[in-house]
Amino acid sequence: MLLLTTIITWLGRLNASIIFIFKYLAITAVAVMTLSILVQVFCRYVLDNSLPWSEELARYLMVWMTFLTLPVVSRMKQHAALDIILGALPRRPALILELILYVLMGAVLYYAFDRSLGFAIKGDRVLATALPITKAWSYMAMPVGFGVMMMVYVELFLKAVVDFVTGAPKSTPLASTIQSEG
């Protein structure tokens, strides 16, 4: 039990630091993405000279923005989900269901990580359309995001195990609702 809490503490610190670094990378990605589209608008409508690379750059940055923030969204349990059953169950059955769901989601993430890594490595042979880089630069966002998400869910899984054993009060359900309707 002590070993478990130690693992959770260290894994939690590791995840928190990765998320902290990702935060600033994601902020930069959004800022540069917005700027590049504004520059594109300016060049096309004011200078009457469209840029070949701005759209592709912005798209790749958006992919990175997504996968850099998915770990924190997962850790904060902010994915859109239905919690009618999970929220209605008593504490222990809810925790068991939660643990099962984490295992299933872990399986999804394992395959997603594995296949997207292969996809990214193959992408190293494909040149981007306008930017002087290979598509691997954008594809790599997927394994990075899925990999860190796996670590986050291991942390959440272990925490739920501890909750189950120690009988801590019912925590928030697996996911809370968030502005997923746009």
Partner: protein, 428 residues
């Protein structure tokens, strides 16, 4: 392959697996059972393609614009404009609430943003003015449905993306239905106010006072003009228009000193997080839909529908009931991503215009955000007002009746949605 994946999807979603994961898990399991794991790579590619998309980039930009306007004083100036024009009506603050929602809808594309921004300001004000808090919360929730119907609209961008219709066309189509919802809610409020003796909010304003209010809100009110003008006239792509709107809102807030540069990183991070949730969902839904087409499920469902009815009017009624039921449990975004590719082709076979159906679906599912047990807007109204979800939804019943009436109007009078798109050349 069979449609086992559909039942797997439903089960794990109800058990509480986040929708984006469930959309990958279900096809994953059914492919695994059939020994077709080589398709996993295809799913991954489709997931990537769903996210790496220029049209979808409008979503983070609209989110950014929304975040900016939420944090600056724009909401207040919109409320002041509404008060100057209709504060003297019976049930004044309730009417102001609805009109402000309509104005806010022209700036933001989200019902949740609408509900939280206006609720924070107007629910306490209404309570002070003699309304019950539950009624104040109900009006706020009911009127925030207009948010994603009057353009811009997040869910319409999603719909346009998965169904390959024009965003400009959808935006033009949503305008009249949005105003119709607002007008009908105001009419119902007028009846309720008369029966319950609600007061006016203020004396009738003079035209001079109205002018001052409009002048103060002039720069923010220009946003929808830039946005819609740019998109509908075809000058900007929706993504470019959204980026310009975000930059414009930022410039207005920074220049009017309602926001500081130091709050910018937090704002961008919030934008990144809420966009990531949606983009992951879109990616998963795109991966999922490739399995749907492999399975031939739309054809199966379509032929089942044909055995039910061959009458398009009846079909629309059935679909509306289905959507209302789905909307009780699922958010509008995921529902559109999952059901759009299934229902869209069926409806087109029956000769219904894709734009018309899109608006029916968007309005219906947005109303689903205000119905229990799962209603995002309802939850926000509850957390802003402190009233229970059950209490608010009971208080909302007259408004729900109005909503359903409007859905039927939009469904059976296509001219309401199709007139503007035809006028601007988005439909024939």
């Amino acid at each position: 392959m069979g449609i086992a994946f559909f039942w797997i999807l439903l089960s794990v979603m109800f058990l509480g697996m986040p929708v984006a994961f469930a959309l990958l898990f279900a096809p994953g399991v059914s492919l695994f059972l059939e020994g077709k794991e080589m398709f996993y790579l295809l799913l991954t590619q489709r997931l990537y393609n769903g996210i790496d998309s220029f049209p979808l980039m409008a979503i983070p930009f609209f989110m950014l614009a929304g975040e900016v306007m939420n944090r600056s004083g724009i909401t207040l100036s919109l409320v002041q404009v509404s008060q100057a024009f209709i504060g003297h009506l019976r049930g004044g603050l309730a009417q102001i609430n609805i009109l402000s929602s309509m104005l806010f809808a022209g700036l933001s594309g989200s019902a949740v943003a609408d509900c939280s921004a206006l609720g924070k300001m107007l629910i306490p004000a209404m309570e002070k003015n003699g309304y019950s808090r539950r009624f104040a919360a109900a009006v706020t929730a009911a009127s925030s449905v207009i948010g994603p119907i009057i353009p811009p609209s997040g869910i319409m961008i999603l719909y346009a993306f998965v169904m390959n219709v024009s965003v400009g066309g959808l935006f033009a189509a949503g305008l009249i239905p949005g105003v119709l919802i607002g007008g009908s809610l105001m009419l119902m409020t007028w009846f309720l106010a008369r029966r319950r003796g609600y007061k006016v909010a203020s004396e009738k304003a003079t035209w001079g006072e109205r002018g001052t209010a409009v002048k103060q809100a002039f720069w923010p009110l220009l946003t929808p003009v830039i946005l819609l003008g740019g998109i509908i006239s075809g000058v900007f792509t929706p993504t470019e228009a959204a980026a310009v709107a975000a930059a414009y809102a930022l410039a207005v807030s920074l220049l009017s000193k309602t926001m500081t540069v130091s709050s910018l990183p937090d704002l961008l991070y919030a934008t990144a997080k809420s966009s990531a949730v949606i983009l992951f969902l879109v990616g998963s839904a795109v991966a999922f839909s490739s399995v749907i087409s492999l399975s031939g499920a739309p054809q199966k469902i379509a032929s089942f529908m044909v055995t039910l009815t061959e009458n398009p009017l009846l079909l629309l009624l059935i679909i509306n009931i289905l959507l209302l039921l789905v909307g009780m449990f699922l958010d509008a975004g995921p529902a559109i991503l999952i059901l759009g590719p299934i229902l869209g082709p069926i409806v087109t076979q029956f000769g219904i215009d894709p734009l018309h159906f899109a608006i029916v679906m968007c309005v219906n599912l947005t109303i689903g955000l205000t119905t229990p047990p799962m209603g995002l807007v309802l939850f926000v109204a509850s957390s802003v007002s402190g009233e229970k979800v059950e209490t608010i939804s009971r208080e909302m019943l007259p408004y729900l009746a109005v909503h359903i009436f409007v859905i039927l109007l939009i469904t059976y009078i296509p001219a309401l949605t199709m007139t503007l798109p035809r006028l601007f050349g988005f439909a024939s």
